[in-house]
Symmetry: C2
Subunit: 216 residues, 2 copies
Amino acid sequence: MDDKEISKAVVRRMPRYYRYLEELKSRGVERISSSELSDMMHVTASQIRQDLNNFGGFGQQGYGYNVDFLYDEIGKILGISSIHTMILVGVGNLGHAITNYIKFSAKNFKIIGLFDVNPALIGQTVSGEKIQHYDEIPKFLETHNVDIAILTIPKDDAQKVCDDIVKCGVKAFWNFTHIDLNVPKDVVVENVHLFDSLMLLSYHREEVLRESGNGS
Amino acid sequence: MDDKEISKAVVRRMPRYYRYLEELKSRGVERISSSELSDMMHVTASQIRQDLNNFGGFGQQGYGYNVDFLYDEIGKILGISSIHTMILVGVGNLGHAITNYIKFSAKNFKIIGLFDVNPALIGQTVSGEKIQHYDEIPKFLETHNVDIAILTIPKDDAQKVCDDIVKCGVKAFWNFTHIDLNVPKDVVVENVHLFDSLMLLSYHREEVLRESGNGS
């Protein structure tokens, strides 16, 4: 298990490879060269070879990459070839959307508990899953193995909710709230900060307008 | 307008500064030193000074940063101090959630048109905005100034929809679909690839489990 350290930049590019390989698979493509993949992905072929070498290569000279094999291997590396159980806290609009998204689009990720504090929501069903009261979480986590907690709650509650759930032993958070969470070292957080993304879009749009002379 | 080039990494960190300053503002904090900000943000004070120097500094020796002023300046840099008009295409669960999110949480971003192809949705209202048929988009864009198009549609339609809207002159896309969009050079795309994010979370979780000895 003493893997050589893989750079964060390489890791961050892996999901994108996975997406393109999935697309190729669905089109029935069995093998692909790094230069063909390079054309599709707008990344240099040498970058692709380097990236994939980090994980042991997978390519064969003159043959290219076996799509199925590479897809499976990257899936294993990313840890998504096994089932991940999740709970979601905060079943507002976004929580609703994410629950449906996971149900219909995220193979191997299963939401097994939905929680909220709003009495009007308790007992309602989303994607076949009943919404339970937030206070039930500790009991739920005692009896269920949960890999990931999804937080789609207002930012003012986020840190406290996170602390509560960390105490119950959950080691991974998918954080849609507007804040950065403080967690112990052995807990991981992946943020989807929508407004950050929107601000970056705004910035890059201004930049492009400026370059094309419309903004000066 | 001949700004010095600002590195992508610095630009990517700006929304985060903006978020923390917003938080400080809402708590009534008027000024803050780079070391206090450093403690909050878990970034070194020297990194903070360097980052903000890219945009002309804003700090004063022995005084720190004026929170209001810095907040406003970063807002201007990010281009979010002026109103941005948006349309959203694909009013499923996610489109619904994003529409509500923009309405209630994204100051200065206004959705002025919702579009879908599903006849059952046309004429319905989300956040006070009526859903129109997708085919109305060209006419709509002739008569309305739209800065950003939000795509919350299935991936198989995404490139075609993007091409259609680019033809009508929209220069910025907030892309929630599962694919990367091909666009002309003067068009910008900011992606929210949910599944990429989930895969990274899965990867980092495995990594942490491995380090703590649970996964080996």
